[in-house]
Assembly symmetry: C2
Homo-oligomer: 227 residues x 2
DNA sequence: TTGAGAATGTGAATTCATTCACAAAAGACA
DNA sequence: TGTCTTTTGTGAATGAATTCACATTCTCAA
C-alpha cells in the first residue's frame, strides 16, 4: 500500500523519456543485445547518461554496476510502469480526416491500444464499417462506452463541438482523453487530458526559423532575443 | 543587429504558451473584447497571471497598468513573434493515412501554413490530385523543394524510410521539419526538428491512469511512486 | 482633480529539473 | 584472489522555470 510519506513525484518529462527508452529497448531487443549502458541509451536519444540513470532510479535499481541494464528485463519493467503490457480499450469519436487515419494505424494495436468503438453523428457514416468496426451513433455514447469497458477516448471532432462531446465522455466516467481539436477543453480535476496540437508544432518551427537565424543565415545557439 | 551581450534565452515552454495566448486572443478579438488582463488569460489556460506577464515581458511591455493588454495589438505582436503574419511554403512527404488528413486540413491554410507540394514514391499516387495539388515523384524532391521556396517539410512516411527521406530533405537545404514517424531522426545541429508522436501521448495517459489512482479509484494529487 | 482600485512589469525567492561527481558494486582476467 | 575497468545509483551542486510580492503606473468615478 502506498503511504503518503513514501511518495516521490515523477515529472512529465521523465514519463515522456520512459517512452523513448521503451522504444529503443524494443529495437535493442530485436537486435538481441543483452545489456545496454546509460551511456548508450543517452547517446541514442541525445540525453546525458546521468539523466537516464536518474529517470530509471525513480522506479528502482534495474542495472548491474560495471555492466549496464539488462535489455529485456528493463523493457518489461518500463512496459509495466507505462502500462504497455496489457491492452487498453479505446473509443474514437469523429471519423473524419484525422479519425480515419487513426483507425487504420496498426502501431496502436501493436502497443495494446485497441480501438474498439467509433462514434460519429453523420448519418452517412453511422453503420458503415471502418477496419472491421461499425460506426456507432453518438447518441448512444454513454451506454456503449460503459458496456464496452472503454478506458481511453480519442476526440477527433470539430473544435466547435469538442467541449460538448467531452462533457458527455466525462459523464460516462472516462478518466483519460486524447484530444485533437485545437481548443482548451475543460475537464474535472480527476480526468487526464492530453492535447495533440499540430498547429502548435508548426508555430514552434515558424518561431525557431524566424528567431534562430541571424542575418547571415547562421544559426544562433539558442532562442534568444533583444534585451 | 543583435549583439551577443543583449540576448536573453526564450524557453520552449514560453514559445508553446505564446501559441496558446495567440489562440485565445483570436477568440477574444472575434468577441470584440478590447483588453484582457493577465488574470483572465491565465484563467483560460490554467496558468498563473505571473506566468503570463513574465512570458510577455520577454518580448516587451505591451500592457497598460490598471487596464490590461490590448487584445488586437497583443495578438498582432505575438503573431509577429511566432511568424504567423506571413505565409510559409510547406511540402508534405508521404500521402498515406496521416498525410491525406493533413492535406485536407483547412486550419493550416488559415494560419499561413500552405502545403504547396506533395511527394510520394507510390506510382499509383504520383500524378494524382489531392485538394488541387498534384503528387510529385519523390525522386524530384531536392529540385522541387528548391524551385518552390519550401521552408518547412512535413514527413509522414513509414518509420523505416524516414531517416533516408530526412537526409535528402536536409541536403536540399531545409531547416525546419515536422516528423510523424515514431523514430528518433538524426539531423544536423542547424536543422529544427519537431516530432509529433501520438503513441507517446497515449502512453502518457496509460501511465497516468495506472499510477495516479489508488485502489479506491480516488485520484492521487500528483504522479508519485514508492520511495 | 483626486483618491481608490486595478493590473502591469520585474527583481527576489522558491520550486523543480538536470547535471556533477564519486563511492560502491560488479565483471574481467591474470 | 586481487587488481583494474566499467558503470550504476544517488546525494550535492547547479541551472532553469515558475511564482511571489510589491513598487509603479494607469483607469475610472465622483
Ligand atoms: N485533419 C487534420 O489534419 C487535423 C490536424 C490537426 C487537428 N485537427 C483537428 O481534429 C479534429 C478533426 O479534424 P478532421 O480534419 O478529421 O475533421 P473532419 O470534419 O474531417 O471530421 C470530423 C468528424 O467529426 C464528426 N462529427 C461532427 N460533429 C460531431 C458530433 N457532434 N458528434 C460526433 N461526431 C461528430 C463529423 O461527422 C466528422 O466525421 C478537428 O478539431 C481538427 O481541428 C485535424
Ligand atoms: N496513421 C496514423 O494515425 C499515424 C499515427 C501516428 C504516427 N503515424 C506515422 O506516420 C507515418 C505515416 O503513417 P501512415 O499511416 O500515413 O502510413 P501510410 O503507409 O498510410 O502512408 C505512408 C505513405 O508514404 C509513402 N512512402 C513510402 N515510402 C516512401 C518513400 N521512400 N518516399 C516517399 N513516399 C513514401 C507511401 O506510399 C504512403 O503513401 C508513419 O511513420 C506512421 O508511423 C501514423
Amino acid at each position: 500500500m502506498i503511504s503518503e510519506s513514501s511518495r516521490r513525484r515523477i515529472s512529465e518529462s521523465t514519463v515522456r523519456r520512459l517512452s523513448l527508452y521503451y522504444r529503443i529497448l524494443s529495437v535493442l531487443e530485436k537486435e538481441n543485445q543483452a545489456t545496454v549502458s546509460s551511456k548508450e541509451l543517452a547517446r541514442r536519444e541525445k540525453l546525458t547518461p546521468a539523466q537516464v540513470r536518474k529517470d530509471l532510479s525513480f522506479f528502482g535499481s534495474f542495472g548491474t554496476r560495471g555492466l549496464g541494464y539488462p535489455v529485456c528485463e528493463l523493457k518489461k519493467r518500463i512496459g509495466e510502469i507505462l502500462g504497455l503490457n496489457r491492452t487498453w480499450n479505446i473509443a474514437l469519436i469523429g471519423v473524419g480526416n484525422i479519425g480515419s487515419a487513426l483507425v487504420g494505424y496498426k502501431e496502436f494495436q501493436r502497443q495494446g491500444f485497441h480501438i474498439k468503438l467509433i462514434f460519429d453523428n453523420d448519418q452517412r457514416k453511422i453503420g458503415s464499417n471502418h477496419k472491421g468496426i461499425t460506426v456507432s451513433d453518438i447518441k448512444n455514447l454513454g451506454k456503449e462506452l460503459r458496456e464496452n469497458n472503454i478506458e481511453i477516448v480519442i476526440v477527433a471532432v470539430p473544435a466547435t463541438v469538442a467541449q460538448y462531446i467531452v462533457d458527455d465522455v466525462v459523464k460516462a466516467g472516462i478518466k483519460a482523453i486524447l484530444n485533437f481539436a485545437p481548443i482548451n477543453l475543460k475537464v474535472p480535476e480527476d480526468v487526464f487530458l492530453r492535447n495533440e496540437n499540430m498547429s502548435m508544432e508548426l508555430e514552434y518551427l515558424s518561431f525557431a526559423r524566424i528567431n534562430l537565424y541571424n542575418d547571415l543565415g547562421t544559426r544562433i545557439r539558442s532562442i534568444q532575443l533583444f534585451e
